[in-house]
């Protein structure tokens, strides 16, 4: 416990880490503000001012031919046309379900995750870059304890921050929807908070993963290089060149992330139909379940964390 406190102090005294923690607060907040602004209720005049006079032309066309716009039987055709055209050009109202499944909430989790992973990387990288790791081991030679204390410190701090930020984000979304008197589907709020908790767990895992990978590679630059290379390999080589057919998407990080955060991810495997010789209809739809996504990320985490701890135990420390 003493070591964990020391490592927490070391973490909080690091300016680079503090900057990243601040970013982990500011970036999701910025996403929330953008979502609040993007979903604000607009008057027709606001829509015209934002999109130009062709909106007015469109309304006039609607008034001339209301049947084409589906408002043929309206009492006030002009008002009905304005509503329809506003729906096309104006903001979509805040939708809690969409926000959770494909909107700002996912972006917030992703941003918090990336920034906190960087915090874990820079925390460990600093010890190696400055050579102060050897100094620390002269005071606590039980290396596995040092590794674990640092990991726990990174985990505790990032878990607390991620939880606070993501819960605050979802509270912001909920409050905004309530204030605007929007329709809030049953369980949408509880599902949102559940996602915030899951997101905090994901961000924490990523931060400790970044720490563990840096402890393994002993270099901030090396770790970032590996992550970049893996990202490049996944996105550009596998997805771009080879394509996502044949179930490759099942092992892509993005699909698994969405599956984890939302509860499932659907994709289409067209190769399955090419290979299907039965002659009947072929269902190309595939789903990554949350449990599969948890397993996917857990395997990646363990594959890095265990060798990191073992190598730290036995390798010479410069």
């Amino acid at each position: 416990m003493r070591l964990v406190k020391v490592e927490l102090t070391r973490l909080l005294w690091r300016r680079a880490v503090l900057v990243l923690l601040a970013l982990a607060v500011v970036l999701p907040l910025a996403v929330l503000v953008l979502r609040v602004v993007d979903t604000r209720t607009q008057s027709f005049d606001d829509i015209v001012a934002e999109n130009g006079s062709y909106v007015v032309d469109e309304v006039e066309g609607c008034v001339r031919h209301p049947g084409r716009y589906g408002v043929g039987g309206a009492d006030d055709v002009t008002a009905a046309c304005q509503r329809v055209i506003a729906g096309w050009y104006g903001n979509s109202p805040l939708d809690l379900v969409e926000e959770r499944e494909a909107g700002g909430a996912l972006a917030a989790i992703l941003l918090v995750t990336m920034v906190l992973m960087l915090a874990g990387i820079t925390f460990a990288g600093h010890d190696w870059n400055t050579g102060s790791m050897s100094n620390q081991l002269l005071f606590e030679p039980r290396r596995e304890r040092v590794w674990l204390a640092k990991a726990v410190a990174v985990g505790l701090l990032t878990a607390a921050l991620a939880m606070a930020v993501l819960v605050a984000f979802w509270t912001g979304v909920w409050v905004t929807a309530s204030v605007r008197d929007l329709d809030i589907p049953a369980h949408a709020v509880s599902a949102g908070y559940k996602q915030a908790v899951l997101g905090a767990g994901f961000a924490t895992g990523a931060a400790v993963f970044g720490y563990a990978l840096t402890m393994l590679l002993r270099s901030t630059v090396g770790t970032l290089g590996v992550l970049f290379a893996v990202g490049f390999f996944c996105v550009v080589v596998v997805a771009g060149v080879l394509g996502l057919e044949g179930g490759v998407e099942r092992v892509m990080p993005w699909g698994n992330f969405v599956a984890y955060a939302v509860g499932g991810y659907e994709f289409y495997d067209y190769d399955a139909c090419v290979m299907d010789m039965s002659g009947g209809g072929c269902d190309t739809g595939e789903t990554i379940k949350r449990s599969a996504a948890v397993l996917y990320f857990a395997v990646i985490w363990v594959v890095v964390a265990i060798p990191s701890l073992l190598s730290f135990r036995v390798r010479d420390v410069p």
């Binding site: 070591l3 102090t9 081991l137 010479d316």
Partner: protein
């Protein structure tokens, strides 16, 4: 470990470290035997690359040994390091701290990791003369201040053994003197010190015993007085150096060189010189034993190692090596 005594603070037997790389295996430390006894300020001498730092790093658990045994305070390390490190302070190579933390912050983190309070930090800072500068960022420190901070870190644990690897590297003359005073003071207070250095005058001034390393092996070891006292040369001044050389060589003595008006003769028996010259009718003007300093001993012993020579220097097993 065999040969261990209650007064032995550091002992290595057959210690070996190999580094494997693309160009093959390099032996950094080869079957090193080292004994440091309680109360010694023990110099650890050797040319660059002789294995001093690697040995220290193995003792402290920062590097693993390929073979051999090590003990600190009679306990086998690295297994017993968690028990013994509470009594060991060490500076390995250059000081390594977080550059953006103040000196005090760096010390506080280390102190807290061993459950030591801020009062000890204050005392350590004061001991090394960093009071007033300890709240400045480490990256603004001069090399001398960094070295002092590193020594302050070793004092946080109230150590019974200090292992210092080149602690005066890069210091200005006053800094060197201050650090030497600190080391001497610790030695006087009963702290055993292993001082790795290639500054021979420093070792001679500060240390009570020394071990000389070459190519990872122990070349000589013993008290500094013993090492210096192992003088094997005589300085012979005569009016006729050529005749003297002929007479000495005829008597089976080896003339190793000429130093101005004098011949240097390798023998620890001056009577052989006077007899050989007397029998040849060459009269002596001066005959002095060459007073070796540690530098000449070091050069001689490391040169001998390079040439594969067999000079009989004291070795750990051949001397009691106690404090002078």
């Amino acid at each position: 470990m065999s040969g261990e005594t209650s007064s032995t603070v550091i002992e290595t037997r057959g210690l070996r470290k190999e580094f494997s790389g693309r160009k093959g295996t390099r032996v950094a430390v080869a079957d090193l035997d080292l004994t440091v006894r309680a109360g010694e300020v023990h110099g650890f001498l050797g040319p660059n690359g002789s294995g001093k730092t690697t040995t220290i790093r193995m003792l402290l658990g920062l590097a693993s040994a390929t073979a051999g045994e090590m003990a600190i305070f009679g306990q086998t390390v690295p297994r017993a390091l968690p028990e013994v490190m509470a009594r060991v302070g060490a500076v390995v190579e250059s000081p390594k701290f977080s550059p953006n933390f103040t000196g005090r912050q760096n010390l506080r983190l280390l102190a807290r990791s061993v459950g030591v309070g801020d009062a000890r930090v204050d005392r350590a800072v004061e001991t090394v003369g960093l009071t007033g500068r300890d709240r400045e960022r480490y990256k603004t420190y001069s090399l001398g201040m960094k070295q002092r901070l590193a020594i302050a870190a070793t004092l946080l644990k109230d150590p019974a053994l200090l292992i210092l690897d080149e602690p005066t590297n890069g210091l200005d003359p006053s800094g060197i003197r201050e650090v030497r005073e600190v080391i001497r003071g610790l030695g006087d207070a009963g702290v055993t010190v292993l001082l790795s250095s290639h500054i021979l005058a420093e070792v001679q001034q500060v240390c009570t015993a020394a071990t000389i390393l070459g190519n990872g092996r122990t070349l000589a070891s013993g008290s500094v007085a013993e090492l210096i006292g192992t003088s094997t040369s005589q300085r012979v001044v005569t009016p006729d150096l050529a005749a003297a050389r002929t007479a000495l060589e005829a008597a089976g003595l080896r003339v190793t060189g000429q130093d101005g008006p004098a011949l240097l003769v390798e023998t620890d028996r001056p009577a052989e010189v006077t007899r050989a010259l007397g029998e040849a009718g060459v009269w002596l003007t001066e005959l002095n034993p060459v007073r070796a300093d540690l530098e000449s001993i070091f050069l001689e012993v490391t040169q001998s190692e390079r040439l594969g020579g067999q000079i009989a220097w004291p070795t750990p097993g051949a001397t009691d090596g106690g404090p002078a």
